[in-house]
């Protein structure tokens, strides 16, 4: 079944009313999507560390229990850190949500198919681990309910959002690590 949603529209919709949410963007396309939606000091884009996005989100969520933490990452990145879904579920952070932008491809390396193209259901894995809420979004009308859960539902929440596999222009965030670290901590902590 071909997807109807486009990743840049989805990520823009997720971030449009982010409020004071803290965002971790997984490496590659999701980092570019977040930047295309509007760069923010409270978005921490990963340029590497594949598989770590959800765990960076967990660390943030535990450190900042009063803030919403939204991880926006790709299906390949999430698959590399599949165990972290179990780790997150054990902690039950009520303020953590993960949006998996699922094009069923490794988009940065030549669009090779990922496990989700063969039917691996990340939302089912999340529920099996003990997430409070998880869903697969296929249709445009299902995006808004998922967006509300991601930004306000009792966590941990995961939404696996099926999107068209497409090659888009690169919209790159800053890449200097200490700059990304300092601007984030400055905006959040004032130090």
């Amino acid at each position: 079944m071909s997807a109807a949603l486009h990743r840049r529209d989805v990520v823009k919709a997720l971030l449009l009313e982010r409020g004071d949410a803290l965002v971790v963007a997984g490496l590659g396309s999701t980092a570019w999507d977040c930047t295309a939606a509007g760069d923010s000091p409270l978005t921490f884009p990963l340029w590497g560390a594949m598989g770590a996005a959800a765990m960076v989100g967990l660390g943030l969520a535990l450190a900042q229990p009063a803030r919403r933490v939204l991880v926006i990452t790709g299906d390949g990145e999430m698959l590399m850190g599949l165990g972290s879904l179990a780790t997150i579920a054990v902690q039950q952070p009520p303020n953590l949500a993960i949006a998996v932008i699922d094009n069923e491809r490794y988009g940065e390396t030549g669009m090779q198919t990922t496990h989700t193209a063969a039917g691996v259901d990340l939302a089912a894995v999340a529920i099996g681990c003990g997430f409070s809420t998880a869903c697969v979004v296929r249709e445009p009308e299902d995006l808004e309910p998922a967006r509300r859960k991601l930004l306000g539902g009792a966590g941990p929440v995961l939404a696996q959002i099926k999107v068209v596999a497409e090659n888009l222009s690169l919209v790159l965030p800053p890449h200097d690590g200490p700059v990304l670290r300092d601007r984030f901590r400055q905006a959040l902590l004032g130090s």
């Binding site: 765990m55 660390g59 972290s84 690590g177 901590r185 959040l188």
Partner: protein, 176 residues
């Protein structure tokens, strides 16, 4: 086994230095320290499926303003390598306490290769390596490493010698 309560000394050093999140993959050598952390109301213990998860956890915690520590066995160091690239490139503070296997007293030969490579692997990724060879050194070494990590945005690992742990057989490990 040493008469000095070195896990207790490490716990007091961590607590005193405001370390509040403890990520771990269990190891027999860390058993008592894990229990002390789990029992403490100020600390959040996070059991991991693999050690590399802890590097992400520590990064996120520090972005959120909280100090953390990772506990693992030497075999787990190998699981962390690529993610340590983020720690170095972002100059994030990091403290790992490694209980060593594959050293004097090892009963499982499959522990030897990673035990022998542990320091080399950490140093290759720019993690400062400190060795604790005697129980009385443990508390001060941990206190100093926390301070250096968080004052200077640097990564540190303390390798705790297998002879401190003192387990000599599978049977002893299982009975611990």
């Amino acid at each position: 086994m040493s008469a000095i309560d070195w896990p207790g000394e490490i716990f007091r050093a961590l607590h005193g230095e405001a370390v509040r999140i403890v990520g771990y993959v269990p190891d027999a050598g860390h058993k008592r320290l894990i229990e002390l952390c789990q029992a403490d109301r100020d600390m959040r213990s996070v059991v991991l499926t693999t050690e590399e998860e802890g590097i992400g956890l520590a990064a996120g915690a520090w972005l959120g303003g909280v100090r953390s520590v990772l506990l693992m066995q030497s075999s787990g160091v190998g699981n962390c390598i690529n993610i340590l690239g983020m720690t170095r490139e972002c100059r994030l503070p990091l403290l790992i306490l490694v209980t060593m296997r594959g050293e004097e007293g090892e009963f499982n030969p499959w522990q030897v290769p990673m035990g022998q490579a542990t320091a080399t692997v950490l140093e290759a990724m720019d993690v400062n390596v400190h060795r604790v060879l005697a129980a009385e050194e443990a508390g001060a070494a941990v206190r100093a490493a926390v301070r250096r990590a968080y004052a200077g945005n640097s990564a540190h690992a303390i390798l705790i010698a297998q002879r401190l742990i003192g387990i000599k057989s599978f049977q002893q490990q299982a009975a611990q």
